[in-house]
Symmetry: C2
Subunit: 467 residues, 2 copies
């Protein structure tokens, strides 16, 4: 991973800017080293890049005022939620202001009859589901971290439920966005579908704060299914596990979740979450539906797994058992990184057409067996998406170089299979070369849109592509 | 409906353009009045606006060559598929060249294991499903007309299956697009999900040919369900029918199709398709799934319908019975327009949050009872989307004025309910004022994107908004 050239472009804040900002935001403007570091580091292997100041917004009006001020002084502005992205997406490459939206955490409206809700960008996904509990509805998108809804929208996040319920791309009905020229717009109405002009909602989803700052999100919700049943099943081989998923998807089984964890990842999970699963390649399943419909799904999947070297299914049907199982899954990234004390993480993120998944994973597994850096495989295999998680010694440059090379090889393998370099983490700083390998000239179109909407290049500059 | 001011901006073709185009395309360039009229009229109430020439493209390379030629001569270019759009989307407001893609109708690749396919833009939806028949897969999106896939992408079309399978927004994995500067790009890879930069796929879907000319489309397909069961059920009141749908959606019944046809629409369908349904407000249902799952869905819906004044369900389970039923539904637009011989159609297209649908439809029905122009209601009520179809005397300006006023009132009603002016027909020429009422300043963002990607304003100029 080469740090983007934009890192050289850091400029000092212009005189008068901080005074003007302090006059507006008082002690919600912070310049302490500790808070700047908190907003200028990441959970992955990137060097910290600190903003010059952090401002806590409390309203869309705050964001508009700050954007106008930054525009007048040509100061970069980087939206910040929970800081859990892992491609360096929130690092202050050119300095400027990190605008922290975490205190904009009100749930504004829940329309149970319409199965939707509107929240401020700083609401975290777990809080939203706690809030929804009594309505019989839930919000399915669940990246590993307890991210903010705004951050999840900005990186087009997904998670374990995407195979059934889609990603943030499908989950969002409308956004409230502040544009680089300080306009406060809503991208769509609350109708389920619309053919009213350009799809600004989808343009903003995944734009990583480079085109607009998302302040409110209207989300589709889903009814909590009558029956939820989770199971864990170990396999003789990684190929058998992947084939099981591919065949179930091809047969149209509406799996709610299906996650793969290889032998090393299971070892990490056992250590980190104090569990005692067999340390073999394992699938974590979840089935949603009516009693009869769930029973049908289970019967089909059991048969497919049996034919592919799967063992007994170990069931978790009670809510507390299920929570324990999926908590272990959600902590898998941290479990893998901490295979070595003091290590930092690097997660790859390719996604390929499902027919190519077995080959992609087995070839990758062979590469990892020959590598010197500890690494696990886990992923959302129902979508064709999986991660390799490297546990990297931050003080060993050889390891960084080795992982860079392995990641490059994996991305090229996925692209050759008509896949993508990133299923859900975004481009940020880490995948800009990959994006060009993946989409070629289409990246120029992105640049033209960026230049049109942000002519001063102040919104999260240096991310996704170089201008 | 006020014809856009751009209609005044028509210029003659510059000298030398036709000769240059003829040198490239030979007799695939047509300038006869008949062919220009075919490409310059619409199925709705708009006055014809003829292109100066029509060129039949046979490849993406043809499209690139034509776009470069048109760019060099500042000649507008309007992509044309089947010409079945109904907001004047393909009319040549400023003249120029209609580029007809209907002969680019090859099905390039069907990946049965990945449940996807890639087709040229001119393939029609019915042909695609005939081609797919032996694979066990189908493509669900079905606007009333037998539209081209490229046209359906360009207008973000949907149809009767969207409640279960989504619209063109969800159906498309990737597009091949020629941009106004003649670049030939692919917007995405074939992976099911991706977080790789701006969502150019969704930006092009619904852009009505104003940002790019779609030449190839990669589509998600679905397995043909084990059981497909269709039913028709009459209701005592329109409110009872809509309430049935709303309650079924809120309970999470995965309806594959649910269509409303009011009493007048049923009369039109009986006449046009030579059927003998009771002429009362009727729901057309379709259920997809395993035998047990379909039986469960039917039981729930029957109970809900019974509680809302629904009568007996009349079943169509054999393929030929189902075809007959849905053929009648697909011809409903033509049936309604032809309630009066020689009439032209005007279809409204609002879509509202489902909790507001009963009120929206019942208030609209009351307006229609008081109107002098014959009108029917039909729609995709599972999405909150319905159409009023007016059967308009083209020689009676009073009728046009009356329908304009009724449409305006309906759009304002939908917007007040946080709905949209168009669920699936697009903006074209007919809804530009509505779009501004709906999205306000956000339309300026669309204009900025348009100016950035098409600085000469040559791609379908005068559509969606005025620059």
């Amino acid at each position: 991973m080469s740090v983007a050239p934009a890192a050289q472009q850091r400029k000092a804040l212009p005189p008068g800017f901080l005074d003007a900002a302090r006059a507006m935001f008082g002690d919600r403007l912070k310049t302490s080293e500790a808070i700047r570091l908190e907003h200028g580091k990441s959970e992955a292997h990137f060097e910290p890049m600190l903003p010059d100041a952090v401002i806590y917004a409390h309203s869309t009006e705050d964001v508009v005022a700050l954007v106008l001020l930054c525009g007048a002084h040509a100061v970069p502005v980087i939206p910040f939620g929970a800081g859990t992205s892992i491609e360096g997406n929130t690092l202050a490459v050119q300095g400027g202001v990190s605008i922290d939206l975490s205190e904009m955490n009100a749930i504004l409206e829940v329309n149970t009859e319409d199965l939707d809700c509107t929240v401020q960008a700083g609401v975290r996904r777990e809080e939203l589901n706690v809030h929804l509990r009594d309505t019989g509805l839930f919000f399915p998108i669940d990246p590993g971290a307890n991210a903010t809804i705004g951050g999840m929208a900005a990186t087009r996040a997904s998670g374990t439920n995407a195979v059934r319920y889609g990603t943030m791309r499908e989950a969002i009905l409308s956004l409230r966005v502040v544009t680089p020229d300080g306009r406060d717009i809503r991208t769509s109405r609350r109708a389920r579908k619309s053919a009213a002009g350009y799809d600004l909602t989808r343009l903003m989803i995944g734009s990583e704060g480079t085109l607009g700052i998302i302040t409110e999100v209207t989300l589709r919700l889903h009814g909590i299914p009558e029956v939820i049943s989770s199971a864990v099943c170990g396999f003789e081989s990684i190929g058998g596990a992947v084939d099981t998923v591919v065949q179930a998807i091809q047969l149209g089984v509406p799996l709610a979740r299906v996650e793969i964890l290889d032998d090393k990842q299971m070892m990490a999970v056992n250590r980190w979450s104090k569990l005692a699963y067999p340390e073999v390649t394992t699938l974590f399943f979840e089935f949603h539906g009516s009693p009869a419909h769930v029973a049908e799904q289970i019967e089909m999947v059991r048969e497919i797994a049996g034919a592919n070297g799967g063992g007994e299914f170990s069931w978790a049907t009670l809510p507390e058992e299920r929570s324990k199982l999926w908590k272990a899954r959600h902590e898998a990234y941290y479990a893998a990184v901490n295979l070595r004390p003091g290590a930092v993480g690097w997660a790859t993120d390719v996604c390929v057409p499902i027919s190519r998944l077995t080959q992609c994973i087995t070839e990758t597994k062979a590469d990892l067996e020959a590598a010197s850096v500890p690494a696990t495989i886990l992923g959302h295999v129902g979508d064709g998406n999986f991660h390799v998680i490297f546990s990297l010694d931050p003080d060993a440059p050889d390891e960084l170089a080795e992982v860079e090379a392995l990641n490059h090889k994996l991305v090229q393998r996925a692209l050759a299979m008509d896949g993508t370099c990133t299923g859900e983490h975004g481009i940020g700083l880490g995948k800009q070369d990959c994006l060009i390998d993946e989409l070629g000239d289409a990246v120029d179109l992105m640049r033209e849109i960026k230049r049109a909407l942000d002519p001063q290049n102040l919104f999260n500059p240096g991310k996704i592509f170089q201008l």
